[in-house]
């Protein structure tokens, strides 16, 4: 039995009720008020490289197919036949001319239009084919990131992203002048609420504690790069609409700004030698310097983070279960770059995924939050770290140290805004 009061009672500026992680009624409202209303990330354009390509995804709990039609237009279609509701596509990705329901063979185009019905005489005078297209979600993209929304009434994606767009542009600089492409993905699940993961990508504070075993296993240069705990230039900005950016390695936030003085990591010496046979030195430097990705995590509310060298995508399954994808990315260029991308895959495997040196420890921490939150559901979860030292940056973004909880406060403010009329 839920004792759901109002979002204002549950989320203050510096704390949220533990019940936000555990109350099924709140979760149901989050699905309808947040995931079925705001912009939700569904794909990177490289996952839909040509006409007829598609991928499966979710918007909230609802399965969708993201397609690219013959003209190159992107569509997000509910994965549900208009006849009797069967799912149309159970493949994670692929190429197709359209989708045919396995049950009675109603067939749809890549744009969702109903194209064919077997034995149509039974429907004469009963249905209009034009009215039975697949349910299509509004779909817009920025910087290769594709988002969909159930709402025709909310702002454009451009407005929704706002100041986060600058950081998306910067994130994509890690292609070293080449576009970014998806290289592969890890998928795992944990027994906890989705917001625990939403918080984590903007949680610099946990890093040296939870990830001590990863820190101990990497080379000194990489460990040093991540030693932001006491670096005053490592800061987090709230960017509006729940988005935030956490700069762990500020020197790599704008990868195009390179004065050439930073030495490349010694571990890549052999790779540099190989690449230098065909690529010019400036090009080699760009892709190698960006090997660990960019120097920040850009947290986009509610479901995607552009995190150093990968995308983290969360999917709420139930109030206490969440699925996560860690999507590896790399430059999409000439064949020489395959060696760069192999190196990026190894770096990704080292930390990410259900057997990485980082993710399992994160997941254990999140499981423990969910278990602990069963106690005293109205006892607050504190998100007040750094509140007294938070100040506006010259751009006007609320800003504090990277270990502070500025990004979480930003996400919960947006949560409250969207849940206000719940």
């Amino acid at each position: 039995m839920s004792h759901y009061t109002t979002p204002a009672d549950l989320a203050a500026a510096d704390r949220v009720a533990g019940r936000l992680y555990t109350d099924p009624a709140i979760f149901e409202n989050e699905i309808s008020r947040i995931f079925e209303r705001t912009w939700v990330w569904v794909a990177h354009e490289s996952e839909l490289p040509g006409p007829g390509t598609f991928k499966s995804a979710h918007v909230g709990r609802q399965p969708v197919i993201v397609t690219r039609d013959r003209k190159g237009m992107l569509h997000t279609l509910l994965n549900r036949c208009r006849h009797r509701g069967a799912s149309l596509c159970e493949k994670p990705r692929g190429q197709a001319n359209g989708f045919t329901c396995p049950y009675h063979a109603w067939s749809y185009g890549l744009d969702g239009k109903l194209r064919g019905i077997p034995y149509p005489d039974g429907y004469e005078g009963v249905i209009e084919k034009g009215e039975l297209s697949l349910k299509k979600l509004r779909t817009e993209s920025y910087g290769g990131m594709v988002f969909a929304t159930f709402s025709d009434g909310i702002e454009s994606l451009d407005e929704f992203l706002g100041d986060a767009k600058l950081w998306i542009d910067r994130f994509m600089q890690q292609g070293g002048g080449y576009p970014i492409k998806v290289l592969g993905k890890h998928r795992f699940k944990f027994r906890g609420n989705w917001k625990i993961q939403l918080e984590n990508t903007t949680d610099g504070y946990h890093f040296p504690i939870v990830h001590r075993s990863w820190m101990a296993s990497v080379d000194a240069e990489t460990a040093d790069m991540m030693s932001f705990m006491t670096d005053p230039s490592a800061i987090t900005h709230a960017l509006g609409n729940g988005h935030s950016v956490m700069q762990m390695v500020p020197g790599h936030s704008d990868l195009d700004a390179d004065d050439g003085t930073e030495p490349l990591q010694g571990r890549f010496d052999d790779l540099i030698k190989d690449l230098s046979k065909t690529l010019d030195p400036a090009q080699v430097r760009k892709v190698v310097r960006a090997m660990h990705g960019t120097g920040f995590n850009l947290n986009l509310f509610p479901n995607v983070s552009m995190s150093a060298a990968f995308f983290r995508v969360l999917r709420p399954v139930s109030v206490d279960e969440t699925e996560i994808e860690h999507i590896a990315i790399g430059p999409d260029g000439p064949p020489e770059l395959d060696a760069v991308n192999r190196e990026r895959l190894r770096i990704h495997e080292h930390f990410q995924g259900p057997f990485g040196f980082g993710t399992p420890d994160d997941a254990e921490g999140w499981d423990r939050v969910q278990r602990g939150a069963q106690c005293a559901p109205d006892m607050p979860i504190l998100v007040n770290r750094g509140l007294a030292r938070e100040k506006a940056s010259p751009e006007g973004w609320p800003t504090s140290h990277v270990t502070d909880e500025t990004g979480m406060r930003a996400a919960y403010a947006q949560w409250k805004e969207l849940m206000r009329d719940a």
Binding site: L183, R191, R212, W214, S217, R342, L345, P354, T359, R371
Partner: protein, 170 residues
Amino acid sequence: MPETATAPAPVPTTDPRVVRAIDLAWREAELLDRKDYETWIGLFTDDGRYVIPIDPDTDDFAGTLNLVYDDARMRRMRVTRMTEGYAIAAVDAARTVRTVSRFVPESVTDDEVVLRSAQVLIASKRGRHDIWAADLVHHIRLSPSGDRIVLKVIRLVDSEEAVPAAGFLL
């Protein structure tokens, strides 16, 4: 099919070389269930690989994203991680019991046995049981100084699905 008509007769699992390989695979399984990772790591050759791929069809492990793709260096670091006490997932790891069976010798020489098998593992943690089912392939180098694993590939039946984050090894 004609190919099978001319194929050599399968080597039986009672072949002494295969017996040695099965013996090693079973010993390995028990070491992993007991989390005796320091002994386990000694079962591999220096050039040995330990792989849990994601793509069910690929053999190009270096060119694709894996769950695990360990050479000797990564394997050493992994065992350190699992045993040194800093990794909270390993400290509070699930207890596991695994059965390895359905052995099929794929190729057998006096130097090396390639052994396919099935593994069903139950992981128990905080009142929950997770099932991890996989096809295994062991490439086992036979040597008078001790048989060793050159390659172990674990192909989870749900490698492309979301699995729990693990504090143990497969």
